[in-house]
Amino acid sequence: MPSENKSPPIEEWRNHPISRSEQTHLRVLEASHSERNYWSDLWHYRELFAILAWRDVAVRYKQTIIGIAWAVVRPLLTMVIFTIVFGKLAKLPSNGDAPYPILVFAGMLPWFLFSSILSEASSSLINNASLIGKVYFPRLIVPASAGVVALVDFTINLAILFGLMAWYGYQPSWHIVFLPIFIAFAVVASLGPALYITALNVKYRDVRYAIPFVIQFGLYVSPVGFSSEIIPSEFRFWYSLNPVVGVIDGFRWSLLGDGSHLYMPGFLASIGIAVFTMWYGLRYFRGAERAFADLV
């Protein structure tokens, strides 16, 4: 009825019946009233999530030349430097017959996804403070939509990797069908700590100064520039307690194929840690969520 209605808005509005279902909708607001239908509420706000994610992406690539170029140049230069330092100078071995640049790039792909979700999502609530103080919506939407920007960057990087593989004439194996699973794993592994940090950041504003340090540190601690197979086997399990290790190993296994072996105990440990952090981050976020508007 309303779509072909050309009457002025006021008329349309007046004639627009208030539906029965809406009328009976009752909402109770109480102190510490844990939202029973939190997840259905989140689903209800999916359009807002989509549009906020779209906004973040649009704003990022609005000045297109800088936006896209940055997404391309940064991983490429890092790859070149890591290949020279770790592959040429330190002469570290690659996985099987994979060219060293491809080994590095396959590790950098999840690393950049992890680090940009961590940094974008951690500051997202503070950056959207004006929104949080003025409108209600499930706050989880904000860090999640910031994560979408990181996924867009990731897609660009993935395209670069495929280009690189074509350049070296390197054939990916059938393992590549598992890539989406590892991408999901990377998102879970980064969103968990990101949720925790973003909630913490609302209370203690200096937390954000620690993030660049953590990311810089993590870049060298995680097997980005080298293969995790050079880690002595007795330490391999402990090394995998860093969930990023599992993510990177998974990516290399799926992209580089047979030359990479998945070290199962370590991989499962990484998954376990990532799932636990996700659960904890979500729990902490939900607990802190109600007070955000009073703090930002």
Partner: protein, 421 residues
């Protein structure tokens, strides 16, 4: 089916604020040490418990709302009035689910949309078209709903030609029009509106007020917070007077506005937070001593991010009955030393021996230039003009008006020899 759409039951909202205890006359290292140690310990404890950190040495609990109870029926249009800090905004935030109450409960029946700010979430880099969708989604509209109303929104905002221009290139008037247009096309059953009419030029404000009247006329429930008492009176049928976080009066709008105006303490001076984006009024001062003689001397302080080509000020006096009584504007009463090329300054307006009846008045101030409105602060000051008891014998202003103009009365006598038999 019950007709009550909002029932608030003994609502309370507590904030914790910190103070610094008074400084000692001289600083002793011992005191500094004990103080920093306790502070450190307390901070560590708070972090461990995951509690909010409070700055300062002393904590004070502050109840922004306490024991607030009321019921709203479908179709009620309620004006919430009260001084700054009375709890109006907190109440709206609780009703809009932005913050949760510390005590009590609210039952809300139906879809509620809140409009606490015009243009929430507008992004300067995005175009007008993109911002309509963004802002609509933020206010709770579905995409299909926005699609359907898109043309109406654009027509209401009068921005057809600039739809694909980033809103950072919009004039402030266009920006506000677009933002309000989106909000005006919300179709909630309950609409919560905070002080949003204080923006835009007079004509657009009138349009917005009209739109809000339409909303109210359709059996939708509106909760409206404003300092603009004339707007409250024009729009609402019920009033809620808040003071110190409590409901002081819940009555007809006329009764509530009258009580508010007559009980609020006189205020002769007010300052506003700086606005870095556009020229704004930074403070308004009224000479309180001159008022007794019915001289109105008003200073409008303004601040602008860049030097202003020119600045024009305006004031309006409104009586406690809600009508505007008198106003002036340096467009029409030109200034003897016009503002040129300054970013900060004061516009002074002096009106000697105003011929208005002694009583309570509120003052609004406006800032603009020859073409554009920059800022308007409606009914922000409130004071008594003249000596209150001078004309106590006159009928009330509601009967004979607000003008105090001496008239000369005389009489003609016909001295006729009355033949009284």
């Amino acid at each position: 089916m019950t007709d009550i759409v909002i029932r608030a039951d003994r609502l309370g909202k507590r904030y914790v604020i910190g103070h610094r205890t008074e400084r000692e006359r001289y600083t002793a290292l011992r005191d500094v040490l004990t103080r920093s140690t306790t502070r450190l310990l307390r901070t560590a404890l708070d972090v461990a418990r995951g509690r909010q950190l409070i700055d300062g040495d002393e904590r004070e609990e502050f109840w922004a709302l306490s024991e607030v109870s009321f019921e709203l029926k479908r179709g009620d249009v309620v004006g919430v009035v009260g001084r700054n800090g009375a709890g109006k905004s907190t109440l709206l935030k609780v009703l809009s689910r932005i913050t949760e109450p510390t005590r009590g409960r609210v039952e809300i029946r139906g879809r509620l949309a809140s409009l606490l700010e015009v243009g929430t979430g507008f992004h300067p880099e995005l175009s007008g078209r993109e911002n309509i969708y963004l802002n609509g989604a933020i206010l709770g509209m579905r995409r299909a709903e926005i699609d359907r109303k898109f043309d109406e929104i654009v027509a209401f905002a009068e921005v057809e030609k600039f739809l694909d221009t980033p809103v950072k290139r919009y004039s402030s008037g266009m920006y506000v029009r677009l933002a309000f247009a989106v909000a005006a096309h919300l179709e909630p059953e309950i609409l919560v509106v905070d002080e949003v009419l204080a923006v835009g030029d007079a004509e657009f404000q009138k349009k917005c007020l009209g739109k809000m009247k339409d909303v109210a006329g359709q059996g939708r429930t509106v909760i409206f917070v404003s300092h603009n008492l004339a707007a409250v009176k024009a729009l609402c049928n019920r009033g809620l007077l808040l003071a110190g976080g409590r409901v002081v009066r819940d009555d007809s709008v006329d009764a509530v506005v009258r009580q508010y105006v007559n009980t609020s303490d006189a205020a002769y001076s007010i300052s506003f937070a700086a606005n870095s984006a556009r020229p704004a009024i930074s403070a308004i001062d009224v000479d309180s001593e001159a008022l007794a003689e019915r001289h109105l001397i008003v200073d409008i302080h303004f601040a602008s991010p860049k030097p202003l080509h020119t600045a024009v000020g305006g004031i309006v006096l409104r009586a406690d009955t809600g009508e505007a009584v008198w106003g002036s504007n340096s467009r029409f009463h030109p200034s003897r030393n016009p503002v040129k090329g300054v970013a900060y300054g004061v516009l002074r307006c002096e009106a000697r021996r105003l011929p208005i009846r002694p009583g309570r008045y509120s003052l609004s101030a406006w800032l603009g230039d020859w073409h554009e409105d920059y800022d308007a602060r409606i009914d922000v000051l409130n004071f008594t003009v003249g000596a209150d008891d001078a004309h106590s014998l006159l009928p009330p202003a509601s009967a004979v008006g607000h003008l105090d103009w001496p008239a000369e009365w005389g009489a003609a006598f016909e001295t006729r020899e009355a033949s009284i038999a």
